[in-house]
């Protein structure tokens, strides 16, 4: 396996509160890595560190080393805007902008300097197709994005993230706010996206982790307890705490 992101001895503090402790992990390329663990154990925090979304929170302090394709993401030379273009993000609650469906998807490419109408049309269509929502919205691209259902909104947000042609896609519990049907559509979509993208997904749902992921990382109280192939983690966990968690003894 080729790793695309490598994390070494990473610690993170919110003020005095240490939320992540000495993490070491290699995220494998073009595969799906699930982050599991009880609420408050630092999954979202870890995810947001990977594309430096934590920069937006005052009082966050990070030590250790995170490398994307071998380059230190905290290096002064790094353009955060480009990093986030490479490592895109989908949030827990669908958060389309209050503008048209088209403009939502075009937002990213426009941010990165694409203004040509023909080119934008092409990118928007491809992103919406890749996010398996094109057929549902192609006749109302000019309509406000807040008018479509929650499940559609989340796929629109995935399309919006894909439109900047990222390499890695971070997803923070992308289906926790959705109904079962929308959830399974998004799971199918995630499996398709694996061919082109590296995906890191936080999930609260063990079945979802088993269904979609190749690798699983189990977090507990800010520590990475265990990382391995999903089938191994769920069939023969090495750590007692992992076993307790996946068998539903806590969490």
């Amino acid at each position: 396996m080729n790793s695309i992101i490598s994390v070494k001895d990473m610690c993170l503090w919110y003020g005095d509160h240490q939320a992540l402790k000495n993490l070491n992990v290699e995220i494998p390329e073009k595969s799906i890595t699930a982050l599991i663990g009880p609420s408050g154990c630092g999954k979202s925090t870890f995810l947001k560190t990977l594309n430096r979304m934590n920069d937006l929170i005052p009082g966050v302090r990070i030590t250790g080393d995170i490398r994307y394709k071998g380059a230190d993401i905290f290096d002064k030379e790094v353009d955060v805007s480009n990093l986030r273009k490479e490592i895109g993000m989908v949030f827990q609650n669908p958060n389309p902008f209050p503008m048209s469906i088209y403009n939502n998807v075009a937002y990213g490419p426009r941010t990165h300097g694409i203004t040509n109408k023909v080119q934008l049309d092409e990118i928007v269509e491809r992103a919406l197709r890749d996010a398996a929502i094109w057929d549902e919205v192609k006749d109302r691209l000019k309509k406000n994005a807040l008018g479509i259902s929650g499940g559609q909104q989340q796929r629109l947000c995935i399309a919006r993230a894909l439109a900047v042609q990222p390499t890695v896609l971070l997803m923070d519990e992308p289906t926790s706010a959705l109904d079962p049907i929308s959830t399974s559509r998004i799971e199918e979509l995630i499996l398709e996206l694996k061919e082109k993208y590296t995906i890191v997904i936080v999930t609260h749902n063990m079945q979802q982790a088993v269904r979609v992921s190749d690798y699983t990382a189990f977090f507990l109280l800010g520590e990475l307890v265990e990382f391995g192939r999903t089938e191994d983690i769920f069939s023969q966990p090495m750590d007692k705490r992992t076993e307790d968690y996946i068998t539903g003894r806590f969490g």
């Binding site: 594309n51 979304m53 937006l56 005052p58 955060v80 805007s81 480009n82 990093l83 986030r84 273009k85 895109g88 993000m89 949030f91 609650n93 958060n95 389309p96 902008f97 209050p98 503008m99 937002y107 990213g108 941010t111 990165h112 947000c157 919006r160 993230a161 900047v164």
Partner: protein
Amino acid sequence: MKQPLSKKRKIYEVLMKALMLLAVGLTAALVLFLLVYVIVKGVPNITWELLSTKPSYLTGRIGILPDILNTLYIVIATLVIVLPLGVGAAIYLTEYASNQRIVSIIEYAAEILSGIPSIIYGLVGMLLFSNNMGTCLMAGALTLVIMNLPTIMRTTQESLKTVPRSYREGAFGLGAGKWRVVRTVVLPGCVDGVITGCILSVGRILGESAALLFTAGFAHAVNGIIEGLASPGATLTVALYVYAKEQGEFGVAFAIAAILMVLTILINFATTTVQKKFAKKRS
């Protein structure tokens, strides 16, 4: 568990209710009286000639066209200056400033500033502006800018705070820079606050006299906007004062009063309409 109220208790209840009704009735009656009185005394004096001419000492004719124009100029000049300042300050404070202590000090200062009696603004405006550029509408407008800055800033800030954090996160997550996020995602969400602030300010400018007496003067000349701003001039409110107090022209004063009253009602109406419309859009 229903027990009949004791007789004393019953009388007490009835009495209190009567007193409250009286208070409400009195308030309503006062407002209504004021409205009717001003309208009845003022409207018959509103003629086309009054609205479309300037006063002439030769014929003794009084016209308030210059005062209407002056009011318009001062409203425009004030808004043109105060909007970018107030909105800019609000954006800086809510989106950029990192030192929360300084932010709360500024917010507190703005709070105090908006409670200061307007005559004090007039005094300061006279020293700052009129003494340097002469008594003119522009000096008045600049004084009103200081007066209305806190209003615009606060209403904008309040509505900036209602823009969901998830919009900002979404935009940052796509690699947008701070200014792009503010311009494309945050600002469109606070248009209602800016509009509300504008309407409130227009209302305040229409009603302002003390601050303008010191700074903008009393002239009644018809000018274009540029020349008008550079010359002294009375707004409607100031003209009302002058006609009533110095010339004893109560007919004209009441005509102006009626006009201002109608404008105030319109402004109130506009504020509620805007707020309702945006509240609906949000939900």
